[in-house]
Symmetry: C2
Subunit: 388 residues, 2 copies
C-alpha cells in the first residue's frame, strides 16, 4: 500500500563493529552520509549526540558555539516550531537551516511526543491527535500527514515518523494499541511526499515488554525507512530498565542502517547504549541540567551552586576545552549561578554539551581502536570507581 | 590636609580638540594611558563607552565578546560585588580582572549611587551611609574609606570617589549639603591607600543648578585627582536638561585630564555630550534595552517584538558587524524574543553594545578628521532627519 517517493537516500557505512559478550555485533563506529538540503553532502561520524534545539535554538547557546563544539546534527521540535513561529513562516524564510543559521544536518521529531507530554488535554483516535497549545490553549490537530507536511516545510535532513508513545507505566493492551497505530501511521507518513534531500526514520515502540519490542521492531523494520529509532524509553522507568530495553531491542534493527535512541540520556546511559549498538542520541539533559547548575565532568557530576566552590580558583574540568573551562574559574561559575546571571546558563550549557561531544568522540575512537571496554572501565573508574 | 600616596598616574594626551560654537574647546579625541594592574600599560582611545559589568559580568555577554566588540574599559559595581561574592573573596581569587577574565582596564564606581538608589532604607550622616542589602535585607555601612578599601581589593584601574548624589528634584539646600559631604569625603578617600596602578577620579555634583555645578567643579578640581566625573545627572531630569548641564559643566574640568559623564545615556546623548567635551561614558541602557527588545541601529530604534518583523529575512542593521546582524535575520531575532529564549537577550545585548562602540569610534575618527559636525548631522539625518 505504501508509496515511497524517490529521494536521495542516506548512506550508512559501518567502519567497525565490536562483538558483545552475547556474541552479537554491538558497539559500532560508522559514517552516515546525508544528501544535504543545499546540495552538499553531510558526513556524520557516529556514535554521536545531537543537541536539542527546541524552539529553533539550543537553549542559551549560539549557532557558532554549536559549530565550535563540533556538534554534528541538531534536533528541531516539530510541535514547538509549528506553534511558534509556524512551519509555513519558516518555510517562507528559507527553511529551518537558514532560520537558525545552522548549515549542518537537522533531525526533526514528529511532534507526537510533545503532543502527548506537553500539550493540554489531548485526544487520540485512529486518524490523529487533537490537542491544546501549551502557549495559549488554542485547539490543534496533528495527523501523520500533517506531521510530515510540517517537517517537509522545516526542511530537516532526517524526518521522524509520527508515532504513538504509550505512557509509563502502560498495560500490554495499551502498548499493543499504540503499536497498531504506530504501524498504520508509519504507512501513512511514508505515503506523504517530502523534499528530495529528506530521509525518514521509523520508530519502534513496545513499552517495557521485551516481546512487544521485538514485534514492533519486526513490523517497523519491514517498512522502507532510511533509519530506525527506539522510542518510548526514558519516560519515567529506571535507567537500568531503559538500558536493558535498548540493549534488548537494538539487535532487531538492521545492522546497515542508523539506530537512534530517542531522549537518552545521562552520560552513563550513552556509554551503556553505545555498548548496545546505538548510533544516535538526543536529550535535553545536558542543557536542562546546565540551567540548574548540574555540570558533567570527567570526574563526575558537579553541583556548581555548592559553597565548596566559592573560593575555588581552578577550572571546572581541567580536561575540557570549552569556553567555561578555559576562560573562567569554578568560583566565577558559582558566582554567576548564585547571582542569577544569564551568562551562567550559557557557560554551563556550552560546558555540558562539550562534555557530551567529548565522550562521544572518545567512544568512537575507542571502538575504532578496539579498546571500547577499557575506555568504558576507565570512564567509570574516573567517576570515583563506581557505576552510578 | 590630604595625603596622596604615590602611584603611577595615568597619562592623558589630547590629540585633537574642536572649538565649539561658544569659542570653548569642546569635542576632543584623546589617548588615556593607564599603568595597568599586571605591569602592562593600557592605551584607551577616547571618546569611548564603557559597558557596565554590574555583578562581575556584563549581563548576557561573555568576556570574549567584549574583546570582539573592541570594548576598551569595563565598569564594575562596588555595591554589588561587595555584597556578592564579596570584595575580599575577589581579592583572594586574584582581583576582579582575573575573576571575570578581563585583562583590559576596569573602572569601579564607589557604591554610593547604588546605596542611594537600590538598597533599602538608607541613612546618611557625615561619616557615611548605613543601608540594607537589596538581596537579603542585612545591614551594612559604607564610608569613604571602606569604598576605597573595596575598590582597592577589586583592583580596578580607575577608582571613583565616594560621593553623595542628591535626588532629583532637590532643593538648593539639599544640593549644597551633598556638595559639602562630597568634598569632605573626597579628602578622606584621597587619604586612603590604593594599589600603585590605581588612579582616582573625583566627582562633580551640583544638581541642576548651574552655579552649584561650577562651584562643585572648582572645589573638586582643586584636589589631586587623576580625572574628573560629572555625577548626579541622568537620574530623572529631561535629556535636554541633562545635556545642558553636562555642556555647562564640562569647561570647568581641566583640559588635560579625562572627563567622565556618569550613567549617560541614549545614543543621541552620547553625541551631544561628546560635542560638549566628554571623554568617557557608561550606562546600562544598551544592555537593559536589549533585554526588553529595544535595539539601536544606524537608522534609529527598532522594537524587535513588533509583528512587522516576523517575516523579515533581512539583517537587523546591515551596517553592523555584530554576531546578531551577521548570523541571523530580524525574523529570527523576533522569534527568539517572543519565545523567551535566552539567546535573545544575548544577541540583542551584543548588538546594542556593538552599536555604541561603533558610534563612539566613528565620532573619534570624525573629530580627528575635523568633520564632527558633518558626522553629527548625518547621524540625525539617518535617524529619519529628526533629533529625537
Amino acid at each position: 500500500m505504501c508509496h515511497v517517493l524517490p529521494g536521495m537516500a542516506l548512506k550508512f557505512r559501518v567502519e567497525k563493529a565490536l562483538m558483545g559478550d552475547d556474541g552479537i555485533a554491538r558497539a559500532r563506529a560508522a559514517v552516515m552520509i546525508l544528501p544535504g538540503h543545499a546540495g552538499k553532502e553531510h558526513e556524520v561520524l557516529t556514535p554521536t549526540f545531537m543537541p536539542v534545539g527546541t524552539q529553533g535554538t539550543v537553549k542559551a547557546v549560539a549557532t557558532k558555539e554549536l559549530r565550535e563544539m563540533h556538534a554534528q546534527v541538531i534536533l528541531g521540535n516539530t510541535y514547538h516550531l509549528y506553534l511558534r513561529p509556524g512551519h509555513e513562516r519558516i518555510e517562507r524564510l528559507g527553511g529551518l537551516h537558514k532560520f537558525m543559521n545552522w548549515q549542518g544536518p537537522i533531525l526533526t521529531d514528529s511532534g507526537g511526543f510533545q503532543v502527548f507530554s506537553l500539550a493540554g488535554l489531548n485526544k487520540i483516535d485512529d486518524e490523529g491527535v487533537t490537542f491544546r497549545s501549551h502557549i495559549d490553549g488554542s485547539k490543534h490537530r496533528f495527523t501523520p500527514e500533517l506531521s510530515m507536511e510540517i517537517q517537509r516545510a522545516l526542511g530537516s535532513d532526517i524526518v521522524m515518523a509520527f508515532d504513538e508513545c504509550p505512557p509509563y507505566p502502560a498495560t500490554e493492551e495499551q502498548v499493543l494499541s499504540a503499536m497498531r497505530r504506530t504501524v498504520a501511521w508509519a504507512h501513512r507518513g511514508l505515503a506523504t511526499e517530502l523534499g528530495p534531500h529528506q530521509n525518514r526514520f521509523g520508530i519502534v515502540q513496545g513499552g517495557l515488554y521485551p516481546h512487544l519490542r521485538e514485534r514492533s521492531a519486526r513490523e517497523i523494520t519491514e517498512l522502507p525507512f532510511d533509519g530506525f529509532a527506539i522510542g518510548g524509553l526514558s519516560i519515567g522507568e529506571s535507567p537500568d530498565l531503559m538500558q536493558k530495553m535498548a540493549t534488548h531491542t537494538a539487535p532487531f534493527l538492521p545492522e546497515d542502517k542508523p539506530r537512534y535512541l530517542m531522549g537518552v540520556g545521562r552520560p552513563e546511559d550513552l556509554v551503556e547504549c553505545v555498548k548496545a549498538g546505538i548510533d544516535l542520541f538526543d536529550c535535553v539533559m545536558p542543557t536542562r541540567n546546565a540551567r540548574n547548575g548540574t555540570l558533567f565532568t570527567s570526574f563526575g557530576k558537579v553541583n556548581i551552586k555548592n559553597a565548596q566552590f566559592q573560593d575555588d580558583a581552578g577550572p571546572l574540568d581541567p580536561e575540557c576545552p570549552c569556553e567555561a573551562c578555559i576562560e573562567y574559574s569554578r568560583a566565577y561559575l558559582r558566582h554567576l549561578y548564585v547571582a542569577g546571571e544569564a551568562l551562567s546558563a550559557r557557560l554551563n550549557s556550552i560546558h555540558n554539551l562539550t562534555y557530551y561531544q567529548t565522550i562521544m568522540a572518545q567512544m568512537r575512537r575507542a571502538i575504532l581502536e578496539n579498546r571500547f571496554d577499557e575506555w568504558r572501565e576507565s570512564f567509570y573508574t574516573r567517576r570515583q570507581g563506581t557505576k552510578t
